[in-house]
Symmetry: C2
């Protein structure tokens, strides 16, 4: 057949390699499924990042990705190199300007430059598809952009980083400390040598920025996202959560409020006996609350060569079929400016863990500080670490005891003020731990 969709691929790492394998495994059936053949014709890859499991010898090699992007022999440029700027940005722009469709799984690039790239794609009437950029194989981009289009969405949230979810799952299942599990995850290849990008919440934030734009029709605004990572989570928190019937997950949450859109990434208490609490290990999920559909959730693998290649292929099939949509579901020029809701206005319940000196009046002082801010307490427990159980109340009188509180609905501002006052009062041996509770 001569009307094949000709693909140029830049980046043959894990995901690029997965794509090459998928195309090789499924070439014939894909042609019938897509209505026309999808043909990989040229690749660009760095010698030292080449995937040893993948044979790229059948394809024309174009060293410079920017040259490949403009290559007259291709219809679609698939960018799987990654990186928020540099050659990824340059080559994607070059491809769009040359009237080539683009498929990418590059969340950093889109979180920072999404609206301008979308405008460029629309100007040249080509696709800029990025199903693989959010939650890997989970087809959430298309679900929001097409399937749930009749809905007004009030919230979109999810577990968007497999490394963090793996670490939190292992901490919970094995009662181990963060640093310990992280080290093992690095050994097993579930975490990078420099894990900051994952465990600090930045990767989750990139994906959240894209979900926000898709769900609310706003311009991406990565810099507006409130970000906390999982580094501060201790086994004591995980145990206390368990006792209180919660699990701790790193969530990315975008919520429409009266004062704007709240975008936040932080460790979150989710109730046990919910589906999201059972999304374990490297799995991801995305939940969407729509006014007609109600609460919907998608679960699956959020990274890896196979799942992400599955997403890239669905983008390619849409292009092969001629189904071209505005990248963010709304025309770039119609994307509303992002209006940021202030984090201090965030409303919700809070988990607070204090290390309180055993002194007369300490409890009363803490309770007063909470009351001053109008915070009412749903439950309060003086906890010992499980490792100390069974035994006496505390190692010895005067040493700090863990006090865990769950608040009723309140504001972030109130909680921050109360905790600052409590810390100033000097009854606590360490900075208070505070974890937001997400209402499901």
């Amino acid at each position: 057949m001569t009307n094949g969709l000709k693909v140029g691929l830049a980046g043959v790492g894990t995901v690029g390699g997965g794509l090459v394998k998928l195309l090789a495994a499924r070439g014939d059936t894909l042609a019938s499924r897509a209505g026309r053949p999808i043909e990989l014709v040229a690749v660009s890859t760095l010698e030292h990042r080449k995937n040893p499991d993948v044979d790229i010898s059948p394809f024309r090699l174009v060293k410079d990705p920017v040259a490949l992007a403009k290559d007259s022999g291709i219809d679609v440029f698939v960018e799987l190199m990654g990186g928020e700027g540099g050659v990824a940005k340059e080559s994607v722009e070059a491809a769009l300007r040359a009237g080539k469709h683009v498929v990418t799984a590059n969340k950093a690039l889109l979180a920072h430059h999404g609206p301008s790239l979308a405008a460029l794609a629309e100007k040249h009437e080509v696709a800029l598809n990025f199903e693989g950029a959010v939650a890997g194989g989970i087809p959430v981009v298309k679900v929001i952009r097409e399937s749930l289009k009749g809905n007004d969405i009030s919230r979109v949230y999810g577990i968007l980083n497999g490394t963090c979810n793996y670490i939190l799952t292992m901490m919970e299942r094995e009662g181990r400390a963060f640093a310990d599990v992280l080290k093992e995850a690095q050994k097993q290849g579930y975490a990078e040598a420099d894990p900051t990008f994952d465990i600090g919440g930045f990767d989750t934030a990139h994906k959240l920025a894209l979900l926000t734009s898709l769900a609310f029709g706003t311009r991406t605004s990565f810099e507006s996202i409130y970000i906390e990572g999982i580094e501060s989570i201790t086994p004591a928190d995980i145990e206390a959560a368990d006792d209180l019937s919660y699990r701790i997950k790193l969530l990315g949450v975008a919520l429409r409020t009266d004062s704007g859109i709240e975008q936040r990434v932080h460790p979150t208490m989710v109730p046990k006996h919910t589906a999201i609490a059972e999304v374990a290990g490297v799995a991801n999920c995305v939940a969407i609350d729509g006014d007609f559909v109600g609460d919907a959730m998608l679960i699956g693998l959020g990274a890896g060569g196979g799942p992400t290649a599955s997403a890239v292929i669905s983008d390619l099939i849409d292009i092969a079929r001629g189904s071209i949509l505005p990248p963010f579901g709304t025309k770039a020029k119609d994307l509303k400016p992002y209006k940021k809701a202030q984090m201090r206005a965030h409303e919700g319940g809070y988990y607070i863990r204090l290390s309180v000196y055993d002194r007369t009046g300490a409890f009363a002082a803490i309770a007063n500080r909470m009351a001053e801010q109008g915070i009412s307490i749903e439950s309060i427990v003086q906890r010992r670490a499980r490792a100390e159980l069974p035994g006496y109340d505390r190692p010895h009188k005067g040493s700090p005891a863990a006090v865990v509180m769950i608040t009723h609905q309140t504001t972030e501002a109130a909680v921050r003020k109360a905790l600052a006052a409590i810390e100033r009062d000097g009854h606590v041996a360490a900075s208070p731990q505070m974890i937001r509770i997400e209402k499901l």
Copy 2:
């Protein structure tokens, strides 16, 4: 604007009413989301089935749905009357023959006549979309048909009937008997006056027939589905499941095996601490195992006016955008004949509950019957109903005791032979209960 997509709606019950409301609430924004206005212009409804909450006075009334289907003033015929044949079939056929697109949420119609209707739609180059027919608001049709198209799917399964899931959830949470919960569900409107269609598994089977065809590219074959309902599930089973760390769900499962495709609907043991085990109440879910994407799952509301209207609207938007696909994702003429795997060849673990007379040799006889069929037992527990606890072992010597076994992987044929022999041997006071365990 003059290029609106003109819609004729037949059936203004719960779902039809939801659609009218959605179009009224979202008319303006839908036009921009779909690229052109979606205009409801005419409706057909039975006087006595009219939804009192919905104002249809703005629309032209066409009494006869078949006349509406062919009406020159419409581009799309939306069939929300329901029913496996009769006027639903007649009007859908009339619409397709007249070159109108069709959107329907009628699973019975499609489960029985899917391939011929799909062929008719393809012949006239129009859409036959049915996102609302499977799992209501959960966008699984489009996800399988488009998003996961790069995958070979090995299994698709799910909780596809909200009534059954609600009943099982209440039985578990409140320790109540099936008949009791059913009666209450009927009062609350979660179950029909004649509940056979839901609790007998037939509704689940209709939806499964469609999922099978979408996932495997085969002709729908409703009559090949093995169907068991939930009527036989007792509180004793739910308690035993709980003790063994399982929950009981009514699943529809389609599995590709070496001897064909296994399609089955039956109560199923799923492990606790999985997302599917936490799909509670009237919620539905669909899981898809693909070779590249891995295991993916979608959760949401499977019925009701809002969720189903959300699905119908997404079908209409696709039509408005000109994105027309073969109804089952594969051209009707290329749908493979369905090759049925025999249920007796089904492989898996089994839960077996026996009411065994307390006689010397009874246990040995049972164990021998299992061994004869090569079935090995993973665990065996002699159970008392919780209501009897704490107390003596059994009310009195000689009365039957509940024995619960979990088998290792075996075949349906072996289990059926062993249970028949055990029943013949006369050591059991009632027919054995047998529930399949699904490997997740």
